[in-house]
Symmetry: C2
Subunit: 198 residues, 2 copies
């Protein structure tokens, strides 16, 4: 009977993850201690470290779950026949709204995702999914001749993603204070990008 240990390990792992999701949502990252998580998961505090190297790692796996949920919402972006600018604004405003919904959670997550301590393969997979969607948008826009063929899809995606990042920075540094304000700023920047500044 091999695999008892493996089975238990999986269960414990999931128990920790579930406890973290629950407590981070109820209280928040800062207000949840490792001991809280351990207690909720029914194990000793030290045992947690057999599964996650640091408290931050638990947070990152929590982010992964949250992002998965958010991704569902995103996929339903109605990519019908809208002009590319509107489409992009819709797309990024969903992300923006999600990430700034909870100021603290968003900040913490962005710090980890945008300026991570070490290259994180899992995050790259996430990014790739978003970029796939974006590239789909641009590809369609190129085919209907709304935008030029001369730019690579990846570079286009990076461009708009960067503008999105800049807006988030503006939010967290206090330049933007409401969603409509953010959307207006986003529209201005996106139009600049599309039309050029020459």
């Amino acid at each position: 009977m091999s695999g008892v240990r493996e089975q238990k390990k999986l269960e414990t792992q999931q128990a920790i993850q579930a406890a973290a999701v629950k407590l981070f949502s109820e209280k928040s990252f800062e207000n949840t201690s490792i001991e809280d998580i351990a207690k909720e998961a029914g194990i000793g505090k030290t045992t947690v470290y057999g599964y996650f190297a640091t408290k931050n790692d638990i947070f990152i796996s929590y982010c992964d779950e949250e992002l998965d949920h958010a991704f569902m919402q995103l996929q339903s972006t109605d990519s019908a026949e809208k002009p590319i600018c509107d489409l992009l604004v819709d797309f990024f405003m969903i992300k923006f709204t999600f990430v700034t919904k909870n100021q603290e959670f968003g900040r913490q997550m962005l710090r980890e995702m945008v300026f991570p301590c070490e290259v994180n393969e899992k995050a790259k997979v996430h990014d790739q999914r978003y970029f796939d969607i974006l590239e789909g948008f641009f590809n369609a826009a190129q085919e209907r001749n709304e935008i030029s063929q001369e730019h690579e899809l990846f570079n286009l995606s990076v461009h708009f993603f960067s503008l999105y990042l800049g807006l988030l920075a503006g939010w967290y540094t206090g330049y933007l204070n409401s969603l409509p304000e953010a959307e207006e700023a986003m529209r201005i920047l996106f139009r600049q990008a599309i039309g050029g500044i020459q």
Copy 2:
């Protein structure tokens, strides 16, 4: 004889700041404890808290000093008769080089500056100085008709600053691995922004 206390307070403040600069440079933020700083400054660990509310605050004041130095270098950007694209690349590559010179320091600083815990007036002053320079560039470019008058200087600055941020994110998430690579990517994005993508 009034002011003995004030005098001492100033000295202590400077001693802490100097100790922090020294130790953060030698070891790094994480590897420097408050106690280390206190010892170096010749005071008790608790006393530090009379001057800075948190360890992070010490780091932020350290950043301010570093950024001041970096700013000097920046001002000397030769804004002669270069095309705006080259000028912007030069400008932002100085910033990029500075901030990524020490991977860990840069990451920590960017986290604080881009996604700060609370709105930080001092950081805004810094940003303003950079934006002033950028707006100067754009203004000159508009006057020699290199770029259109229709965009506000501020929005233009935000646009390129955002692209710069996106590149830093690319650096820290492992998409960019060398300065020449970063510069090439920057040039591509900047050209996209200038020429538009239509």
